[in-house]
């Protein structure tokens, strides 16, 4: 039974996180509402999958949690502490040693002119996990062994362009592990990898969760991999979180019309050839610039009602571990 989010103290508690980017010039100032009121929790040793298409705000959300960009509004509680109060001027070394980030593009996330050893040694040195060349080299090889890159010594001397995409992504994971993190934020880690090696990387992520109790926020646009690895699934659309809860529950009984649309769009060979049944897709993701009030999915929703264009629906709990923001479910 996957762990639910009730009762236990979470490792990460995000409340009302909002990000607006300025856009437009001079007297025509506008705001891009990239993320609006994101709220969710991550338990210890749990994988929360954040699912959404491009422009849904999932990458921005994760970058705010990693403290790469400032939030416009909202609070982040990490291990119980409100980090904007305890470290208002930027992430402390402590935070950086506990919260790590893995990027989508395996080539861009490694510095082409530095060896793998350099990439893994830097976090060790910065966070004082190892001293002296010998010890550092040993730790680097240990890390490479953990991510199943062999022979460790030889790989450590290579440059990124001499590794395949899957190997580079494993190096990124190793770099994140170097600081002994408690939470890893993974931004679509497998979407740019070859199909046959994706599972290997996902299984590695799962193994590390089981063995070391690391929690993950796993971002993806692919519901299938979200289901495979996620204990909890959160669905984002146009910057808003529209549905969330236990992964299997959402897969079986998706409540929000957008989630249902997503599910119907995934190619599913088991469902039979030429499935023309399923929701007819209409329209496109709306612009995030100064959006009109109401639910952002209103323009495309097959079940839209008047109130949808007026106010954003509130969170409604369908079961203890399944909530949705949709007027269809508000009494």
């Amino acid at each position: 039974m996957p762990p639910s989010n009730k009762g236990l103290a979470p490792i990460l508690d995000v409340r009302g996180m909002t990000k607006h980017f300025p856009a437009g010039i001079l007297f025509n100032k506008k705001q891009v509402h990239a993320v609006e009121n994101a709220t969710f929790t991550v338990q210890y040793s749990q994988v929360v999958a954040l699912v959404g298409e491009s422009g849904s705000g999932k990458t921005t959300t994760i970058r705010m949690i990693a403290r790469l960009i400032p939030v416009t509004q909202g609070e982040i509680f990490f291990e119980g502490a409100n980090i904007f109060k305890t470290e208002p001027r930027g992430a402390s070394m402590d935070y950086r040693s506990k919260v790590q980030l893995i990027f989508q593009d395996p080539f861009a996330s490694l510095n082409a002119v530095q060896t793998i050893e350099h990439h893994l040694a830097r976090p060790l040195i910065i966070h004082k996990k190892a001293f002296g060349r010998q010890e550092i080299h040993e730790r680097v090889c240990d890390l490479l062994d953990t991510v199943e890159l062999k022979p460790a010594s030889e790989i450590a001397n290579r440059y990124p362009h001499q590794l395949s995409g899957g190997q580079r992504q494993r190096v990124s994971i190793a770099r994140a592990l170097a600081v002994d993190p408690k939470l890893i934020l993974a931004d679509e880690p497998i979407s740019m990898l070859d199909v046959s090696i994706r599972m290997g990387v996902l299984n590695l992520i799962d193994k590390l969760k089981e063995e070391r109790g690391i929690s993950y926020v796993y971002i993806t646009h692919d519901l299938a991999s979200a289901r495979y690895i996620g204990d909890q699934i959160m669905v984002m659309y146009a910057g808003h979180m529209v549905e969330g809860g236990d992964g299997e529950a959402i897969m079986r009984e998706a409540a929000h019309p957008y989630t249902q649309l997503l599910l119907s769009a995934v190619p599913n060979p088991q469902a039979g050839l030429h499935t023309d049944k399923g929701i007819r897709v209409r329209g496109e993701v709306p612009s995030l610039i100064d959006p009109p009030p109401g639910c952002p999915f209103g323009a495309r929703c097959p079940s839209v009602i008047n109130i949808c264009h007026q106010i954003m629906p509130a969170k409604k709990e369908l079961t203890p571990n399944h909530w949705v923001r949709c007027h269809l479910y508000s009494s």
Partner: protein, 294 residues
Amino acid sequence: MDDVSFAIQPGEVVGLAGESGSGKSTIAHAILRILHPPALITGGQVLFKGRDVMEMNDAELGQFRWSKISIVFQSAMNALNPVMKIRDQLTDVMVHHGLSKADANTRALNLFKLVGIDPQRLDTYPHQLSGGMRQRAVIAIALALDPPILIMDEPTTALDVVVQKDILQQISVLREKLGFSILFITHDLSLLVEISTRIAIMYAGEIVERAPARELFETPLHPYTLGLMNSFPSISGLKHKLTGIPGSPPDLIDVPTGCRFHPRCPKVMAICSKTVPGIKFISSDHSVSCHLFN
């Protein structure tokens, strides 16, 4: 790419599945002879209704391309000229093949209606369209001369899944209306099973298995095909652990001896590293290249 052979019948969708380095994109470009130097084609024929594309000179190729076979590329932003209006890019190829300007414009209007874009958008630039619309525009350009065969090289890979479904539905509708065949190239095997008539699996420049779509899905034979199937988590049914395939696709400068898949194969035998397995027909339209079946 080595000794790749397949046939496309009128009105069918042939799916070509493979990962990076499999040669699937290379073959699409080779059929139209648009590979960049220093690429060379060193053997084989591409017979379109009996005529060999490899024997054509520049002038014949100019007539042949686009009117008989056209191609939709992966990234619409790469395929479209950013400083030309869509209308001009559409009418360009038609005028080049002899249509008058007026006829070309009428046809452009109809094509846009056909692919589901508001014809008012004809006079916009590519960057003003969304990703899905750009890809539709590219499909419209590919259909400009009503070719009997369309090559689609990963047309939806760069798109979100909902837009992907949308485009595929559109392609389906177009196929019913116009009756063209498609060579659909992608790495997404689950997608191919949904839309193809027949599927060929490529690995490291060779075709390793070939079968009708449903049969391939129900009875995959080649260990690589099995491995690929084992790499797609599903959204329904029982959740079980998937392993993918260990290792990575080989460097084509230095291919493994014998069967090119043998370093990664879970069922490898001694003979696999020594001799190349020939093509064996299991049934009239299901063939596989593997020593397990020789």
